[in-house]
Symmetry: C2
Subunit: 254 residues, 2 copies
């Protein structure tokens, strides 16, 4: 039973998200169907992802693992999968890994990028791939507020009400505002995140960028430990899971 | 009769190109319909573009001009147009110009970018926005071959057979290969181009990048002054009209 690790890129626009669901196409179901096809439909394959992205959220470097009941050349694997996947989902890399490798529980860092187009007019080219904010954003004010959120905190204020994590305490290692040609991006890195954490943080930082909130308001919101104290949830369009890292330390379970 | 100059961005994927045609949606027809709407449908507006992009070709900075029979605040104009345009077409800028300004004949430079994704696997995110070449391209070899095409030449080898220009002689001011994160781009600048000139040049430079052609082969092809001597036509997907410049010198007519 060899175990494989694959890296996946997807356009989340028309998808219900990573996780298999009854109400529409998911990345997981598409990959499992493709995996069954490459085994010649001889058995089902369970594919386990590093993180469950929501509907409309994109990935450049999602990671998943699965077992096959046969040997398979990892070099051939991406093209074998892609022959059976919709164009919006591509396996970009594959390797054989140890039998105990776990894409979710062994991940030591997850990196996301939230892209904001900041100009008067929406994009004709990047529809569905950026959040369009037409009033000018103050990047330095956003970074100063972001600095208040770095580190270990109870992030209840930025947690979706239906989040299933056991604890609201997470450690945010990176929260950086980067310039982009016609806007900016919020870069977030942590071992793991709460549900909607990045979209809720981004929605709040945009309030700061617009001059409606101060960095102190963000600190107060964090201290309130209540979703009602946080800013709005940013739409899924601008969010990308950019990479998942593994360095051998098992992930905290959530 | 005030004259206006507008800058337009579009996703060419679902369009038949810039020019009004019977067989599908064009940028020109969409803009003219929107212009009639903002005049309250009181009269028709003829919109003249700087360049006719083909079906599937994108624009970040197409330019056009037109006359209105009424005053209009240029600051309000992009949003007024966009309220009546499909999402794939956005007016990004507008200004009032002299009555003799002509978007096509007064253009002194046009700049294009042709984007190539150069990795094993196609893109899930940028489908329709890059040309995917899965074998590795030799960027330096491509630049050396590109250098043979810079300057004034008879470009018959790189001209579509149905091109309507009076002369095949054009002056290519810039032909530069730039690195992109997972590939490269061909940057081309000239006062004006022949039909398919950039796509034919790019298709030929890719043959060089793949090691199938040498720079000398490209020189020989140029000297042959025959489309049959050139390389294949690159698909429209990777091509963007990035900007059109005006510095008061009237354009050569073609």
């Amino acid at each position: 039973m060899p175990r494989f690790k694959i890296t996946i890129e997807y356009d989340g626009t028309g998808l219900v998200g990573w996780q298999r669901q009854d109400n529409g196409p998911s990345v997981q179901a598409a990959l499992e169907k493709a995996a069954a096809a490459i085994t010649g439909q001889r058995y089902d394959v369970l594919i386990q992802g590093a993180g469950r992205t929501d509907a409309g959220v994109h990935a450049l470097g999602q990671v998943a693992h699965f077992d096959l009941q046969q040997d398979f050349d990892p070099y051939r694997m991406p093209l074998a999968f892609n022959a059976h996947l919709p164009d919006a989902i591509r396996v970009t890399d594959a390797e054989q890994v140890d039998d105990d490798f776990h894409a979710r529980f062994h991940a030591t860092a997850r990196a996301y990028r939230y892209r904001i187009l900041n100009r008067r007019v929406a994009s004709a080219i990047e529809r569905g791939f950026v959040w369009h904010i037409h009033h000018p954003l103050d990047r330095d004010a956003m970074q100063a507020a972001a600095d208040r959120l770095i580190g270990s905190h109870d992030f209840s204020t930025f947690r979706a009400t239906h989040c299933q994590a056991l604890s609201p305490v997470k450690t945010l290692d990176v929260l950086r505002i980067e310039d982009e040609p016609q806007g900016l991006a919020v870069i977030a890195e942590a071992r793991s995140f709460l549900h909607h954490q990045i979209r809720n943080i981004t929605g709040t930082l945009v309030q700061v960028g617009l001059g409606k909130w101060t960095a102190d308001d963000v600190s107060d919101a964090l201290a309130a430990k209540s979703r009602a104290a946080g800013g709005p949830t940013a739409p899924p369009d601008g969010l990308y899971l950019t990479s998942v890292s593994y360095d051998g330390v098992p992930e905290e379970k959530d």
